[in-house]
């Protein structure tokens, strides 16, 4: 099977978070609680057991005159902080329990019932 990956073109992303909502709806996972972070518009903050997609808001001091698409300065970047389903997935190789597997569609999947939370995949 050809090596595939999951790429998000951040230069086109407007940070609407519709993907976050759609992902939760599709996978039928619950909310993560209603906590305001005070960190830009990012209240999702990180991936987790019930958050498979995260749009990270990278906010830097903007300068009047140039918007985010300007070559001069990126000021508010909406970065896709999610699994890329890498062809050579380090997390999958590192997983001691076999919880992380490659599916028949080529995607990388975490089987929650086998995960013991060791965190090797993150490292």
């Amino acid at each position: 099977m050809a090596v595939t990956g999951f790429l998000t073109d951040s230069t086109l992303c407007i940070g609407c978070k519709a993907c976050e909502v759609a992902c939760k709806e599709w996978n039928d996972v619950p909310d993560d609680g209603f906590v305001w972070s005070g960190l830009s518009y990012d209240n999702t903050l990180a991936l987790g057991h019930s958050t498979y997609r995260h749009v990270k808001f990278v906010e830097r001091e903007p300068k009047a005159g140039c918007g985010g698409n300007s070559n001069q300065q990126l000021t508010w970047e909406f970065s896709s902080d999610v699994c890329r389903h890498c062809g050579n997935a380090g997390c999958l190789e590192a997983c001691p329990t076999g919880s992380i597997v490659r599916t028949e569609f080529g995607s990388v999947f975490v089987q929650p019932d086998l995960c013991n939370g060791c965190g090797y995949c993150v490292v």
Partner: protein, 821 residues
């Protein structure tokens, strides 16, 4: 400008991104905040909220003084050459007022604004009872005449010269002084935007309520219209002014209005006139235009009355015209809500809105509800408006006591958009049909179901009394089906499309004034020509014909005759849209021509015939009696024929442009003890406040704060303020702060960010505070009601409040000291 399109219209914004990616379009965002739209733009210019006309005026001045206007377009297609009356006086001459100001009545007499030689006629557009939606039809302004023109544009009283003098004081230096935008930045952007003009290029302007919700909102949009007309950017591909709509079918709800001052298809609502006879003839004489498209207004009103009253509408009874309600005063949302607060209103239906959270001076609006005898609320959830008597802030603070409220509240569950069929009309006037996906749960019903069965039951209760005559005559025979007797929405669309005594009609061109045709909304006529065209799903060509139906006549770009030169050839190969086909002797092209198909470009107008035939073949703006775009508006506006900058109703600054005239003189402040204003200036409220929406929520939050996956994304009310302001008031990011105005105060979390910059304006540092207004007392996430801070005020033309520029104070919230436990 006046919009965060990426934030609030993310679906439509894909086309902006596509223009950037595929065509290399430059995106310029002018907004007090750096938001999602700024992040996607090439340029972001932060401006002081409420200074939009200074910025746009300077763009116009730049265009005129640097010869950037599209001369070949401007002379034939606008009223630049038209000569004005000798007694017209501009704001230049009268210290910020136009001629005709009546200080006692606080309104203008606009006779001096007419073209030279025009005879003034009855102008109900200025009548206090009528709002701006039912504005001047063109015919109200003046009797038929040929405007005096000077095509060299040299005559000192021609519109072009008046425009030049009027905008001369709107300089780049003034932009720096008043908007807080550095002169160099302004010039850079002015250069880029005015370059998007001429035969080969066009530029578009997108705006939303960031322009509308000001005390001079209509004039801000007028300024954009002047700029776009000068640059030749109207009626051409890639040009235009896009009014971004805040909800799925807001365009539809003005076309077939939920507004008090118009009937379907922008026909003015009749008003009670003690001096008139109230006849249909009188109404037609008042509103019919001798030249241009509104010549046909009699056909449209008679056909509408036939759709309403069917066989009961006859020539002998004026087609039932007397059965239509009459305007007797300001029945806009604010007009009737203040009446309600004063105990003058008995009952109210609230559908598709949540004024207890979403309307200005929400505290006044909530308290007013307690004066009603009955209140009907239809919504997806039990919204704050339905529970004002139970858990509103006024119940909590003791201002209202549940046991003392007599209002009987009826809550009806509503079907959502997937649970009913019908159309949406979007911002480009496109009607799109949607199928019903599932049955509504429980007792939830569609609006159509509710209104139809309510009407049916009311008709059953109609008596023989004369006041019930209209109700008895009303045609109300839509077929129903299924277990809940759901009316057929296609039957309604067919009625809107229209019919004649002899069978189906193709479009509004076939409507007549003799009672032989019926049509529920003339501009939509054509949508059901043989089939439901709103349901079309096979798009073809560049402009998507075959997908949905764009009123009128499936024209995708309005006034597209202007996409061709006066001789009928496209301005350029790159920007061609419609053109005259000499062999077929008709207008051809990629769009349906917004023009009489067989009218030659060199046709002379036949004034003897009137209407469209009176206009020549090179007059693209067919709704106007002179067939041209109006740089100068001779009639129809209540606060001036040209935009002039006035400070917001609350401002700590001076009016740099007209020092003697601070605020828009024609705006209605509706000032009263429960709708108080800050002074201008006012040391108590030193900062500028502006309100807006976030992508994650929808307006009052009823549809988003109740859904976990949306509520978690923006769970709490916050106020955006600059690091500078934060340090001035001694707060850090995340602190609880109190934001106060003359109406009240609310608590929010401080989001300290450089995206909300402080600006240098009039030689001092000006701080702005931004508040999204989505929170209320119910739902999964709750918060204070930001609209408690906003005053009820009325822009003079369309009676909208000023929620985008007010004054406020900010302080750190002191934790409540509670008794020892």
């Amino acid at each position: 400008m006046g919009s965060s399109m990426a934030e609030n219209h993310p679906v439509g914004f894909q086309w902006v991104i596509e223009a950037r990616e595929k065509n290399g379009a430059t995106i310029i965002h002018v907004d007090p905040r750096f938001n999602r739209t700024s992040a996607m733009s090439d340029y972001w210019l932060p401006l002081r909220a409420g200074s939009d006309i200074v910025f746009l005026g300077a763009m116009i001045n730049f265009t005129l003084s640097n010869e950037r206007y599209f001369r070949d377009y401007v002379i034939p297609y606008t009223n630049a050459a038209t000569i004005l009356r000798e007694d017209f006086r501009d704001t230049e001459d009268l210290g910020g007022l136009f001629s005709g100001w009546d200080a006692e009545k606080k309104q203008y007499d606009f006779e001096t604004w007419l073209y030279e030689g025009a005879t003034p006629s009855k102008h109900p557009g200025m009548d206090e009872k009528r709002g701006g939606h039912g504005k001047d039809r063109g015919g109200e302004a003046q009797e038929l005449h040929e405007p005096h023109r000077d095509e060299t544009l040299q005559h000192p009283r021609c519109v072009f010269q008046v425009l030049k003098r009027h905008f001369a004081r709107y300089t780049p230096e003034m932009v720096e002084q008043s908007c807080g935008i550095a002169k160099e930045r302004f010039l850079e952007v002015a250069e880029i935007f005015t370059n998007a003009s001429g035969r080969e290029k066009t530029g578009a302007i997108c705006y939303a309520v960031g322009w509308t919700q000001h005390s001079s909102g209509v004039q801000i949009i007028r300024a954009a219209a002047i700029l776009q007309l000068l640059l030749g950017n109207i009626g051409r591909p890639g040009g235009g002014i896009m009014a971004l709509r805040g909800h799925a079918s807001i365009q539809g709800s003005t076309d077939i209005p939920t507004l008090y001052d118009i009937l379907p298809g922008y026909l003015p609502m009749p008003a009670h006139d003690p001096e008139g006879d109230g006849s249909l003839k009188e109404w037609i004489e008042t509103h019919k235009s001798p030249k241009g498209w509104w010549f046909n207004i009699d056909k449209y009103i008679v056909s509408l009355l036939k759709a309403y009253y069917g066989d009961a509408a006859t020539k002998a009874n004026d087609f039932g015209f007397s059965w239509l309600p009459r305007l007797t005063g300001d029945h806009s949302h604010f007009g009737y809500w203040l009446d309600m607060a004063d105990g003058k209103l008995e009952g109210l239906f609230v559908m598709g809105q949540n004024p207890a959270v979403g309307a200005p001076n929400a505290r006044l609006e909530r308290k007013a509800l307690s004066k009603l005898k009955w209140l009907v609320v239809r919504d997806l959830v039990e919204i704050e408006t339905a529970t004002f008597w139970l858990d509103s802030p006024e119940i909590a603070n003791g201002e209202l006591r549940t046991e003392e409220i007599d209002t009987e509240v009826f809550l009806f569950p509503a079907a959502s958009h997937v649970e009913k069929a019908g159309t949406f009309t979007n911002t480009q006037r496109l009607l799109q049909w949607r199928e019903q996906a599932i049955e509504p749960p429980g007792y939830a019903r569609s609006e159509l179901h509710f209104m139809y069965h309510l009407g049916r039951m009311l008709k059953e209760k109609a008596t023989d009394a004369p006041r019930d005559a209209g109700l008895r005559a009303l045609t109300w025979d839509y077929p129903t089906h299924g277990p809940i007797d759901e009316p057929d929405p296609e039957a309604v669309l067919r009625e809107i499309h229209g019919s004649s005594d002899t069978g189906p009609i193709k479009h509004f061109g076939e409507l007549k004034n003799d009672g032989s045709t019926a049509c529920g909304c003339w501009i939509y006529s054509g949508v059901f020509d043989g089939e439901n065209k709103a349901n079309g799903r096979s798009a073809r060509g560049k402009y998507g014909h075959g997908w949905g139906y764009a009123w009128p006549m499936d024209r995708r770009i309005l006034y597209n005759r202007a996409s061709a030169a006066p001789d009928g050839t496209p301005w350029s190969e790159r920007k061609k849209l419609v053109w005259w086909d000499e062999t077929k002797e008709e207008w051809a092209g990629d769009d349906v021509a917004d023009f009489t198909k067989a009218k030659r470009p060199d046709a002379k107008g036949d004034a003897g015939k009137g209407g469209d035939e009176a206009l020549p073949g090179d007059a693209p703006f067919i709704m106007h009696p002179d067939g041209v775009g109006w740089l100068f508006v001779p009639s129809g506006l209540k606060d001036g024929p040209l935009p002039a900058h006035y400070e917001p109703l609350e401002s700590n600054l001076v009016n740099d442009l007209y020092p003697d005239q601070l605020a828009n003189p024609a705006a209605d402040r509706k000032e009263r003890p429960d709708n108080a204003y800050a002074n201008s200036p006012d040391v108590r409220f030193p900062y500028i406040l502006t309100t807006y929406r976030l992508t994650e929520h929808h307006t009052s939050g009823a549809m988003s704060r109740t859904l976990a996956h949306l509520a978690e994304l923006q769970p709490e009310l916050f106020a955006e303020l600059s690091p500078e302001l934060a340090s001035e008031v001694g707060v850090v990011n995340g602190d609880c702060i109190v934001v106060a105005t003359a109406r009240g105060e609310i608590e929010a979390r401080a989001l300290v960010t450089g995206r909300m910059p402080s600006l240098d304006v009039q030689g001092r540092r000006v701080h702005q505070v931004g508040l999204p207004y989505h929170w209320g007392g119910r739902g999964l996430v709750t918060g204070d009601v930001v609209n408690d801070l906003v005053a009820i005020s009325e822009e003079p033309n369309v009676r909208i409040m000023e929620s985008k520029a007010l004054t406020c104070s900010v302080r750190k919230s002191e934790p409540l000291v509670t008794a020892l436990e």
